[in-house]
């Protein structure tokens, strides 16, 4: 069963599961594609046989566990304490030891009891005509831990099923300033309505000094009926959780080309000491704009690579007269360092109109992954139970010990026979060695 499951898993990991159908066709060719597709290898973890195998595995696990559970519970609550019963059972893990002593029976019994109590706790005592019996048991309750591990696996799988059937994983791209009320399912791109709106207030990428991205940060607002209820910054590893939905930062991009902020100033007015507000225009490279001052049209152009020199601003400005198709003039920007300012002043001038470079405005969208899953706690509960049970199952060994002391009456004095059956529930050599050591010590005492 486990081997079959593993095989499917190996196939699943060897074939990339996330590509689109078209990519697969290119990768494997049409013939192979058809074979792989009909076998379900391209989406193996959703295929009927994988789910079938998992369900079979679950049933198998449940049945096996329940099958053996009553016997084990009985063994823990009401263990077989009788020496003779155990002796006749011939248990494979049990070992039988026998020693004799000439000392008084009560001494023998009390010394034996004292010695084994150190490691095995308090015994159950029984006496009849045949002799006295001691029954020791340690860590018996921990014999349940394998069942608890199996139970925890079932809990985890139930949690997984709940999240698969009742939850979803979806994605959506939001432009800065936009609000969305829907997302698209990852598995089939079907739209799904969200119970709230998500607005992207702002997106920023932060960088390390050497230009490698450090974090991708989106400021999101959750809106309900057009009212903003919550605003939070999210980044990778720090999602936003709201009403069983989790919103993750997944990707980002530009949805429009970057625009250059140009501050346009009429120098004529400044010379005449007229106060004026600088007019701002956001210009994309290669597009024609009407200048906010003067009757001009302007276009920003990129200086071609071949002509580019270091220290020169990479854009130039083409100026057009209102009805002309060709520019009247192409002008470069001047870069002037200004004392007290980190960034230099970049500007250019056409007759008495100045254009000052005011930075670059990017139009970002943020790619979000939205997951609905109200049952992750089931999975975590199962996991925690599993860890605890694994710990107890692995590091504690349940052990049982049956001792019988019988007296044989002889003329020269009584001989006491001590019979010991020791059984660990995990067959460890070290256990028998320990028992033998204790028995040797007992031999010295009695």
């Amino acid at each position: 069963m486990i081997i079959l499951l593993s095989l499917v898993l190996i196939i699943g990991s060897l074939i990339d599961q996330s590509d689109t159908m078209l990519q697969y066709k290119e990768l494997y060719g049409p013939a192979w594609f058809n074979i792989l597709y009909s076998l379900g290898f391209l989406n193996i973890f959703d295929s009927w046989y994988f789910i079938g195998l998992s369900v079979l595995f679950l049933i198998n696990l449940t049945v096996c566990s329940i099958d053996r559970l009553p016997k084990r519970i009985k063994g823990i609550i009401a263990p077989e304490t009788s020496f003779n019963e155990i002796f006749n059972k011939n248990l494979t893990k049990a070992k039988y030891y026998k020693l004799t002593s000439l000392k008084d029976k009560n001494t023998v019994l009390s010394e034996t009891k004292k010695l084994f109590s150190k490691k095995f706790g308090k015994p159950v005592e029984k006496s009849d005509n045949g002799g006295s019996e001691l029954y020791f048991s340690k860590n018996a309750a921990l014999r349940l831990s394998p069942y608890i591990i199996h139970l925890s696996i079932i809990i985890i799988l139930i949690g997984v099923m709940l999240s698969v059937t009742l939850g979803y994983r979806a994605y959506v791209n939001i432009d800065e300033g936009q609000t969305v009320h829907h997302a698209f399912l990852l598995k089939n791109n079907q739209p799904v309505r969200l119970p709230f709106g998500i607005r992207l207030d702002r997106y920023v990428t932060k960088y390390y000094p050497d230009g490698i991205p450090k974090s991708y940060i989106s400021t999101l607002s959750i809106t309900k009926k057009h009212v903003r209820v919550l605003t939070k910054k999210i980044r990778v590893n720090h999602p936003l959780r709201y009403e069983h939905h989790t919103i993750y930062q997944a990707s980002f991009g530009h949805y429009k080309p970057d625009a250059v902020k140009l501050i346009t100033i009429n120098m004529h007015n400044i010379q005449k000491n007229k106060t004026q507000k600088p007019e701002v225009i956001y210009a994309e490279v290669g597009k024609l704009y009407k200048s906010p001052v003067k009757n001009l049209r302007i276009k920003l152009m990129l200086i071609k690579n071949t002509q580019r020199k270091t220290g020169i601003f990479p854009l130039y400005l083409s100026v057009y007269k209102p009805n002309d198709k060709k520019p009247v003039k192409n002008i470069l920007f001047s870069v002037v360092k200004v004392a007290g300012r980190k960034t230099p002043l970049v500007f250019t001038k056409y007759s008495d109109t100045a254009f000052v470079f005011g930075g670059i405005k990017g139009y970002f969208f943020s790619g979000l992954e939205i997951t609905k899953n109200a049952y992750t706690w089931v999975v975590w509960t199962g996991s925690i139970i599993m860890m605890i049970a694994l710990f107890f199952a692995f590091f504690f060994n349940a052990k049982e010990l049956w001792i019988k002391v019988s007296t044989e009456k002889k003329a020269g004095g009584n001989t006491n026979t001590i019979e010991i059956i020791a059984m660990p529930h995990k067959k460890f050599i070290s256990f028998y060695n320990n028992i033998e050591q204790t028995i040797n010590r007992l031999k010295n005492i009695i």
């Binding site: 898993l9 190996i10 490698i212 694994l390 692995f394 070290s430």
Partner: protein, 297 residues
């Protein structure tokens, strides 16, 4: 192309030195294995202890260096980091095991694995020791716990692999009495009885299994914070599940089916091959969400 990582700044100089020491220790253990010379084993063990101390220092240097250049994540993020950490954990595990049992005979297997990892880290051009800024996905406090638990598991499985080989050698010897069967010779006579090895294999594997489970659960918790779900069927996740199932099979076979100790040893050996594929194979062969170690070509 051979490219040597040996910068005093990021600790890689010490790791490279520790590689040469591991090689020396390996030779010592090999001599021990063939001649049974206890002195060789003792020297090798002292070298190994020295390596462990040196590497601890190297890790501290590397960690401090990483923080000093403004990267606030533990140095456990790329292929180089992971290889040296793997070697470190294996050596540490062997030293611990050596405290409880006389498994010197396993030394040459352990030093071979650790040495291979260190050689790969020190000389391979695809594993530069340069400390790169951490990509956003790895900037999380889960990183440390996830990596450390899993590498402890890998270390334990490496030990079980060595023990498995040791068991198979010893077992063959025990069951095929040679002509001079009165006295065992060679290094096999110096190791404990196969039934003890069998028990230790089991103990080491359950220890590893516990840490593997913890590591996978921590990974799932982290993925739930970073990737949009606790399980994404990423190749590494899938393979860790395969590894988990392999060792689960081992534990069940032993406890409920009562398989022979020889078969168990074979599973312990085969299981480690699955582990190695899960650790390196998945990174280097199959692209996936875990491909941080994949060299940018």
């Amino acid at each position: 192309m051979i490219y040597m990582n040996a910068s005093p700044l990021d600790g890689s100089l010490i790791f490279t030195i520790s590689f040469f020491m591991t090689a020396a220790s390996f030779i010592g253990y090999l001599i021990y294995a063939f001649s049974g010379n206890k002195w060789a084993a003792r020297t090798s063990f002292s070298i190994l202890t020295g390596i462990f101390i040196l590497q601890t220092v190297a890790f501290i240097i590397r960690w401090r260096y990483t923080y000093s250049i403004g990267i606030h994540t533990p140095p456990l993020t790329d292929l180089y980091d992971s290889l040296v950490f793997f070697a470190y954990i294996i050596i540490f595990g062997f030293i611990l095991l050596r405290v409880f049992y006389n498994f010197d005979a396993m030394g040459f297997i352990i030093t071979a694995i650790a040495g291979a990892a260190l050689a790969f880290a020190s000389f391979s051009p695809i594993a530069p020791s340069l400390v790169e800024p951490t990509i956003p996905a790895l900037r999380s406090y889960w990183l440390l716990y996830h990596i450390v638990t899993l590498f402890i598991a890998y270390g334990a499985f490496a030990a079980s692999f060595g023990l498995g080989i040791l068991f198979l050698l010893k077992f063959r010897k025990e069951n095929k009495p040679s002509k001079n069967s009165k006295k065992e010779t060679g290094f096999l006579s110096l190791i404990p009885h196969s039934s003890i090895i069998d028990e230790v294999i089991y103990k080491v594997i359950v220890f590893g299994f516990l840490f593997l489970t913890a590591g996978v659960i921590i990974g799932a918790a982290w993925a739930n914070n970073a990737w949009g779900g606790y399980w994404s069927w990423d190749p590494k996740e899938t393979f860790s599940l395969i590894t988990w199932l392999t060792y689960a099979l081992f534990i069940h076979a032993r406890i409920t089916k009562g398989w022979s100790a020889k078969r168990m040893a074979w599973i312990a050996v085969a299981g480690f091959i699955v582990v190695i594929f899960c650790y390196l194979g998945v990174d280097l062969v199959i692209p996936g969400l875990h491909s941080y170690a994949t060299p940018a070509l």
